[in-house]
């Protein structure tokens, strides 16, 4: 009999059964369930179900992040309703306006650990694969059901293995790797799969970089994504965690529906052209395209290393187009301030905003005008994503976004970065 994949092991654990195989339907009890500004809508569905009391309030987290600080009275009412609900139900974890984006904040607070299962009412819940957890997105009605019952049926997905080999060259990042995966196999390439990364590249990546890979696998259609946790992950968690854990690793003889290998040592910076995240080319093919706005932030690329990358590129330069920078969390914001990166960015002409999702889905804090092009460190460039269908969006790493802000057109960061790198 063949070995087990990560997904098979993790969902068997979460369902309290001895083993499971791809295709099995299990009742899963997640270790954490989270939502964001959509919690007011979830509450209404919960009440509509006839439920009264949240089943496991100690395992629920809510983060204000999609529209913060509240841009309209309607949003403010929505937030107020959620605060009241948290108090009434004794929900354990509420993260206020300014704390940051759910995936980043939950990672910083270490509310989830390797081998555990986390379900979020947000599509980028695949994010938590960075620490070896099973993270998947659900809709509002399912989150209401999770509040009501503390569990949810799930089908164990087939798994796909992506082995990354080699070391990235300076100015090339996990974002470029993610975009190349999308470019190679398409936005439907990982549909419904557990995308399980392997290979020697992973241990060479910082934790900030690692988070990009599973986060971007949401654009691949993945159910979840996974990186095997190592000492760097354990050291980070051990300084912050409040409970024990057992990491899970796929068996060497596990069976994968697809098995890909990518040598990242030759990879150049990548860019996704409008209007789909798999419309990816080498950056060199898009150089010189004029842009009116650059945006660095989001759950994908708003961490300390991303802001550091922007500061390195922007130091001593002035931007030639608008640049909006939004740290992914207050912890990132504070660390970036103390390190002097925020000062560098402001001197270069950047506008800094409160930690949160910002303009990523077209809400506020930097939505483009029709026919204005944006280059963004976010994850999606679907038509209309940033608020108007006539505004093209390019996706790239923070290095590329910052270099393009300096040039006012799409540019290669390796031409701006100090040669010593």
């Amino acid at each position: 009999m063949s070995g087990y994949t990560f997904a098979e092991k993790a969902l068997a654990r979460a369902a309290g059964v001895s083993s499971a195989r791809a295709g099995d339907i299990l009742d899963v009890r997640p270790d954490l369930m989270f939502s964001h500004d959509n919690s007011a809508a979830i509450r209404r569905i919960f009440l509509e179900m006839g439920a009264k009391k949240i089943a496991r309030p100690d395992r629920i987290a809510i983060t204000f992040d999609h529209a913060v600080p509240a841009p309209t009275t309607k949003h403010a009412q929505n937030h107020a309703e959620i605060r009241e609900w948290v108090k009434e139900q004794g929900i354990a974890h509420l993260f206020e306006v300014g704390r940051g984006i759910c995936h980043q904040v939950i990672s910083e607070e270490v509310l989830i650990l390797p081998g555990e299962t986390i379900l979020g009412a947000d599509s980028h819940s695949t994010h938590f694969g960075w620490l070896g957890a099973f993270g998947a997105g659900v809709g509002r009605t399912e989150m209401a059901a999770l509040w009501a019952t503390g569990e949810l049926w799930m089908r164990v997905p087939d798994s796909m293995r992506i082995a990354l080999t080699g070391t990235l060259t300076p100015g090339v990042t996990a974002k470029d790797v993610s975009l190349r995966i999308l470019g190679n196999y398409g936005v439907e390439g990982g549909i419904y799969a557990s995308v399980e990364f392997a290979g020697d590249t992973i241990s060479t990546l910082s934790l900030d970089q690692r988070a990009v890979l599973p986060n971007m696998m949401a654009e691949f259609g993945a159910k979840n994504a996974y990186l095997p946790p190592d000492k760097a992950v354990f050291d980070y968690l051990d300084a912050r965690r409040t409970r024990d854990y057992t990491p899970l690793y796929p068996d060497p003889d596990a069976v994968y529906a697809h098995d890909y290998t990518i040598d990242v040592s030759q990879l150049e910076p990548q860019i996704a052209l409008p209007n789909q995240p798999d419309n990816v080319v080498n950056l060199s093919e898009a150089l010189g395209e004029p842009i009116q706005q650059a945006f660095i932030g989001t759950c994908t690329n708003g961490r300390l290393e991303d802001i550091q990358a922007a500061a390195e590129v922007l130091r001593g330069h002035k931007v030639r187009c608008r640049l909006v920078v939004i740290p992914a969390s207050s912890e990132v914001y504070l660390a970036a301030t103390r390190a002097g990166y925020i000062e560098t960015l402001i001197e270069a002409g950047a506008a800094i905003a409160t930690p949160g999702c910002g303009p990523c889905m077209g809400n506020h804090l930097g939505v483009p005008a029709p026919n204005e092009a944006t280059i963004s460190s976010a994850n999606r460039n679907f038509k209309g994503r940033m608020g108007t269908p006539d505004a093209p969006v390019y996706l790239a790493s923070p290095y590329v976004v910052a270099a393009s802000a300096v040039a006012g057109k799409i540019a290669d960061p390796r031409e701006v970065l100090p040669l010593s790198r």
Partner: protein, 163 residues
């Protein structure tokens, strides 16, 4: 459940949730507004053309992207009776069932725009009445069939959830 018959509106692959319902319209708790903007950035005429009972037909990976439940809600509130696609993005697929919008996966089909289509959820078949071609649907897990039969997860849990 009786077979559903309706006129097909056919679109391509990778129709994402932003094109189904742009994010700027999803921040309201009032779902009645959603039908006004359904598929707006893909086909601005769709919402004027669609009639109650019509069928939406697509290619691969329908509903890619966001977990927003307003995407199937917008389609349902526009009057669409069932969505047929070669494949669905997983969160959209679950969301649709959970809000009581039937979705049917047929791995390959050649259904054309404005053809009359019959979807038999019970027997798992999709028939293009104009060409006579019948396609077999992917079997849905039993739990999903049960949720759909109750009209969605809210009704299902009201009945069986012991909440």
């Amino acid at each position: 459940m009786n077979p559903i018959t309706g006129k097909a509106h056919v679109y391509g692959d990778n129709i994402d949730t932003d094109r189904i319902i742009p994010g700027k319209y999803t921040k309201t708790l009032d779902v009645s507004q959603l039908a006004e903007h359904v598929l707006e950035d893909l086909d601005p005429e769709f919402r004027h053309r669609v009639q109650a009972g019509d069928i939406l037909v697509a290619g691969e990976n329908f509903g890619a992207g966001s977990s927003r439940e307003q995407a199937p809600l917008a389609i349902k509130s526009a009057g669409i009776s069932v969505v047929v696609a070669r494949s669905f993005a997983r969160i959209f697929y679950r969301n649709a069932i959970n809000i009581g919008l039937p979705v049917v996966e047929v791995s390959d089909h050649a259904i054309e725009n404005e053809h009359l289509v019959e979807v038999d959820l019970e027997n798992g078949t999709v028939t293009d009445k104009d060409t006579g071609q019948t396609y077999r649907a992917t079997q849905m897990p039993e739990v999903m069939v049960n949720i759909l039969n109750e009209g969605g997860l809210v009704h299902y849990l009201r009945k069986y959830g012991q909440l």
